[in-house]
Symmetry: C2
Subunit: 417 residues, 2 copies
């Protein structure tokens, strides 16, 4: 085939894939403009259509008119719990184990501290050297507040993890999907290995929840955290969540004792008495406006079969990978080649990665850059189409054909994960 033939064939193929896509209708639930291709839902999910009305009601009716009474009359006080229960099915968690609160970083501190309490502050924390920085910082930081001050923190390369899980490890702390490479850890296998070695596991699901089946209960995961603003589409800086397996909930006190985690917050008692169950993981007054946005956004998942989402996500990734190969554009695949081993993201490297991402943005394709040479494309099966991918690759080829990526300087403050 000539390149023109190949191109025509792939355009037709994209159209066919879209025609057969059972999730194609989901895009209508978002407010994305038609002429831009958004491949950054793994950084900031786009706005679900129902969000502005929900916030408008909270502002104009609840806050404005009902004022303080809204804490009860409109369920503000229960939002951390009701939101947790909405997130739970996305994680394969039975009720009573997920709460929505604070940021992922703060939540990591809580569960790391509790996991080490349960382990008697013996042994080490093991993580991946290329884990997301906040996860690493929180583990590093925990040493500063460990009661014996001798907490070991080991970081190894991803490929060495399975071997490094031995009797010296007390807590295995991992991100389900690597934020740079998109590599997906085998949660089932690593959790089982950790348990066999006597370790507890903490999974950071920020880059996986909402685009694939996760089975926390079935895998007997101990703890998990995640954010609300990526594939959950809860808005910029949406609150995070915490999963604590029921069996661990009353074994320890999380280390940030605030009034919302008290057994009887409105008794205003002078002594702290943690609430039973998952509620003890709350600390201060919840950020209601941000929570209302996330609450509305989660309606997108109401009738979604996550098996179909995962299946389409893999197809989108394969489509992108294949078309880039066909295009001849000189990007090198950084993500695992096997779709089963990837999250909902495909990353490439190029020595002008920053320039490529900037040039693409100017042409209406929004991906993102990670220093020093990584181009990340996030794929969200709920709104990305196969023709989106096709058009993105055509524009990527245009960038290289016209040399649009050259001579652009990296502004290190630019991207936000």
């Amino acid at each position: 085939m000539t390149q023109a033939d190949e191109l025509r064939a792939s355009v037709q193929h994209s159209m066919d894939l879209d025609a057969r896509d059972s999730l194609a209708g989901w895009r209508q639930q978002f407010t994305l403009a038609g002429d831009e291709i958004y491949l950054d839902g793994n950084s900031l999910g786009p706005m679900p259509r129902c969000v502005p009305a929900a916030l408008e009601t909270t502002l104009r009716s609840h806050w404005q008119n009902d004022l303080i009474r809204s804490w009860n009359d409109h369920g503000w006080i229960d939002l951390p719990i009701t939101l947790g229960e909405k997130i739970a099915p996305l994680l394969g968690a039975a009720p009573g184990q997920v709460v929505c609160t604070d940021s992922t970083s703060i939540n990591l501190f809580k569960v790391l501290h509790v996991a080490m309490q349960i382990q008697g502050w013996k042994g080490s924390i093991l993580s991946e050297a290329d884990n997301f920085p906040t996860d690493l910082y929180m583990a590093e930081n925990l040493r500063a507040v460990a009661p014996r001050g001798a907490l070991a923190f080991e970081r190894v390369a991803s490929e060495d993890l399975a071997e490094a899980i031995d009797g010296s490890v007390s807590v295995l702390l991992l991100s389900h999907v690597n934020f740079r490479t998109g590599a997906l850890h085998d949660l089932v296998d690593l959790t089982a290995r950790a348990h066999q070695a006597g370790a507890l596991v903490i999974w950071d699901l920020s880059h996986s929840a909402g685009v694939m089946n996760i089975e926390l209960d079935a895998c007997q995961v101990d703890f998990a955290v995640g954010c609300g603003y990526k594939f959950l589409n809860g808005g910029p800086g949406a609150p995070g969540y915490i999963y604590v397996a029921e069996r661990h909930q009353n074994s320890a006190r999380q280390p940030l004792w605030g009034w919302m985690g008290h057994a009887e917050p409105f008794q205003f008692a002078p002594r702290y008495e943690p609430a039973p169950g998952i509620k003890r993981y709350l600390t201060g007054t919840p950020a209601i406006l941000s929570m209302v946005a996330l609450d509305a956004a989660l309606a997108v998942f109401d009738d979604l079969d996550l098996t179909l989402a995962r299946q389409k996500s893999k197809q989108l990734g394969e489509h992108l990978k294949d078309l880039i190969t066909v295009s001849g554009v000189p990007l090198k695949l950084l993500s695992p080649s096997d779709a089963e081993a990837r999250g909902s993201q495909v990353s490439f490297t190029h020595h002008c990665a920053y320039g490529v991402v900037q040039a693409l943005i100017e042409l209406g394709v929004i991906g993102d850059f990670r220093a020093p040479n990584i181009i990340r494309f996030g794929l969200n099966p709920l709104f990305n189409s196969f023709q989106d991918i096709e058009r993105a690759v055509v524009l990527l080829k245009q960038v290289f054909d016209e040399g649009r990526h050259l001579e652009r300087r990296f502004d290190e403050r630019k991207p936000v994960t």
Copy 2:
């Protein structure tokens, strides 16, 4: 005078006071309905008129259209700092010392830990026995993470504080205004006493910022925290703030190391390196929607002279106190009688306090109840009028005259501070 004469005289007096009120115009900046009297701005401030438009722009223009680019193009990434700089003048703080982040509870943990680090984890934390619970819990909690595990935490009655500040105290942790009684501590005197004894001070300004002059720099206060949702009117659960005097900022690392507090967050470096200055007090990704509401709400303070606000606040309190005395309603003053010794709140006790508050709410006067027998009336000089107070007392008298307060049971989940 007969009671009718007194009543007529006091109505005229209220009208006169309103006619002379230089802040009367401020009420137009809020969306309060005319027929309700809101005396709970010390719990949840009412919505400033400019908030919905600000959020609408953030949703419909920034998040919807500009998506991930908004972190830079619309200043999301800088909001914790720019908001801190807007709050700083309300606290008497020069630039570079206030940041907006997380909840008051989380922020208390950060500054308590840092203060004890600076003090070498020697000596005790001293607080008031009736401080707000979260403040007490966080100090209690700090013992669980103290490196030597032997941290002493002393709580004394308010009247014994001055005497209790001696060489054994390392950190004095106080709320500027007591959430139950409305009693205002002498920040100048207590800070000076603490410094003389070699202690550092942490002030919780949740119940005072926005309704009185505060001079953190001039008083050489070390640390302060506060919330955004009371007299700052930032909306339910609005983020809190932290003040750290410049001289302490680089002396220690706060104990919740997140990527937003890193010197170079977008380098995604594997090791934590705190940002210089106040920025190191950030932890995770900021809750932008809640921050945008607070940011808009702070415009209310743009041309406000806090001296006038404090003056009117005291007058409102005196007016309320005097009218209740005149009315003959059997409430007992719990707050200090002297306006100088009160925050912007007047509290009373009654054995049917819960019933009184509920009956008043039904008549359109929103105050709140604190177990077991406290009625709190918050006074906000930016929207409460003297005729509001007059009308509230008339309705309070009606409650007692008609026995509306009897036979109502306390629902302990009802009130939120």
